[in-house]
Amino acid sequence: MPRLSYLKALNRCLGDEMARDENVVVMGEDIGVGVAGVTTGMLDRYGARRVIDMPLSEQAFTSFATGAAMAGLRPVIEFQIPSLLFLTFEQIANQAHKFALMTGGQTSVPVTYLVPGSGSRTGWAGQHSDHPYGLFAHVGVKTLVPATPSDAYGLFASAIRDDDPVVIFAPAGALGVRADVDYADLQPVPIGVGTVHRPGTDVTVVAIGHLVQTALAVAEELASEVSIEVFDPRSVYPFDWEGLAASVARTGRLVVVDDSNRSCGIGAEILATAAEEMRLAAPPKRVTRPDGAVLPFALELDQAVQPSKDQLVTAIRAVMKS
């Protein structure tokens, strides 16, 4: 079986979707040359009509995509850095997201916003290292954070085919992940459905994005001590509450590991919904970035702010004890 990297999976998916549907066009900065790797080869295959290099006018090109989408196309936008989602927040949350309801269902805005390399890219410092998926979950824009190459392929495909705006975070820490895949198995993965990467009976660890690998490593390391179920929601919004409830029903304990700011993050939502609706044998725990975190430049500091394996181990042990 071929070994596929996460980044290559995104690239493959984009190529396949553009082949499948002529309405798919891709817009972004330096995508012709393919600086980020997702669009590599697309300009040659599909030409400048469908692969449109953008000037540094992110707000306008985001709403340009909204207009094109309402006129029938399915634009994919590649954002070079996560903070461009801050810059275009009005255009996504207040325009693209709202058109369907505000027009009484007259239109739809099938745009996909992809950030390849979200979160900390070592040494890129404070303005390039955020993981703001919680913001989109709050405003209600569909938000995906694939963890594996086949989910990267499958969720990207679903996003492109979805009739609503969808944001996809491809964490920098996941881009290099590789897996053996049969190309024939690469299929759309439904939005809003999580997956259990490793079954367990003592505690459910919900891990987001690249931290799925961390959670799996910890589960393996602690295998003799505690049976950990690793649940990957894949979509942070809409969230697979049924899948989570089923897992927690099995384990009765909950830890979330999430590389985003603590307050009002997806970790908060998971704990809140669990507290409301699920039966827990012990208080749940979150391992996150600190409140209001800004990633400092120096490597030691940057890493200190991100959730670590050790913190996860500590949290799991604490939950098991209480």
């Binding site: 009509r49 306008a60 207009g67 309402m70 006129a71 027009t103 009484g104 979805d162």
Partner: protein
């Protein structure tokens, strides 16, 4: 363009606004409106130069554009009154009225937001092989908004068939143009390589001429344009101003501003019979609009989150039962 048709549109908008203001006063329209009175020649002239399959984006002060582009005044009035029979099923109201079947990609509550949307829609039509054009209406306040200037850039770069129509009514709410706009409005169009002209926005025939030229250019693949239409807002920024007197325009200025009325300018070109016949038909239509709006059912609160997602995804509610 037929003077009768231009007059008819100006008159329809004027009287629609006046009837709508009555409904604001009587409480049938909740939240108020931004009246377009005084600026009707622009919507009439520009939309007169468009085909049904051309596209527009509009603003918070959008009724005129929406009506001139052909939306049914009856369903439009129902929308303002928040009824299920409205253009947007009562979900949009004054600031979001839309009719996608007629290329009306919506009024918009965010100043300057429509420019890039119009450009993207126009670009998509060309991508699809069509020869449609798009028009983005906006005010003098909007030319200070970054995203609109960015949209000028995109349109200029790719020769997008979009026409940017700036309605310079002298004010952004209470801010006079000189206070908000450094340099000139035309200079902003020229900076991005667009043919940019200033015209009398009180005469629908003049606006029509300028629009027809820009539309022809865009349709022929010769790219975007900026048209600055000089006009004056006769009424309040928003109906809230009817209660809260704001002190920013003198009586003299108001009188001068109102002295050139597009209704008179357009009306003077018609015979009395034609004008009276047009007026009567409009009165009847608007009487029906008001009647229909007030008689139409209000939406069911249980449906509040309908249409939130085009896919039909149902959002979790805010309180479990």
């Amino acid at each position: 363009m037929n003077p009768l048709e231009l007059y008819r549109v100006v008159r329809l908008i004027r009287r629609f606004e006046e009837r709508a203001i009555e409904l604001v006063r009587s409480g049938e329209i909740v939240g108020g409106i931004h009246p377009y009175i005084g600026q009707e020649a622009i919507a009439a002239g520009v939309c007169g130069a468009l085909r049904t399959d051309d596209i527009i984006t509009s603003t918070h002060r959008g009724h005129g554009h929406v009506l001139a582009k052909g939306a049914d005044p009856v369903r439009m009035m129902a929308e303002l009154a928040g009824r299920v029979t409205g253009l947007n099923k009562g979900r949009g109201g004054s600031m979001h009225a839309a009719d996608f079947g007629l290329g009306i990609f919506g009024a918009n509550g965010i100043v300057g937001a429509g420019g890039a949307i119009a450009a993207g829609a126009a670009w998509a039509r060309r991508y699809q092989g069509g020869d449609q054009v798009a028009v983005s209406f906006f005010g003098d306040g909007a030319v200070s908004q970054g995203v609109l200037l960015e949209a000028f850039n995109l349109a200029g770069l790719w020769n997008v068939p979009v026409i940017f129509v700036c309605e310079n009514n002298g004010y952004a709410t209470t801010m006079p143009v000189e206070g908000g706009v450094a340099g000139t409005i035309l200079g902003r169009g020229e900076a991005f390589g667009m043919p940019s002209v200033q015209v009398d926005g009180m005469d629908p025939a003049v606006v029509y001429e300028a629009a027809a030229e820009a539309v022809a250019r865009a349709r022929a693949g010769e790219g975007p344009s900026l048209i600055e239409c000089m006009t004056y807002r006769f009424d309040a920024h928003h109906t809230f101003e009817h209660k809260a007197r704001l002190n920013y325009r003198s009586e003299e200025e108001l009188a001068t501003g109102r002295s050139r009325d597009p209704l008179d300018i357009a009306g003077a070109r018609l015979s009395t019979e034609d004008r009276e016949a047009a007026d009567a038909a409009i009165e009847e239509l608007l009487a029906e609009a008001v009647r229909f709006a007030c008689a139409s059912p209000k939406p069911d609160p249980a449906d509040a989150m309908d249409h939130l997602y085009a896919t039909g995804l149902r959002a979790r509610t805010g309180a479990s039962a």
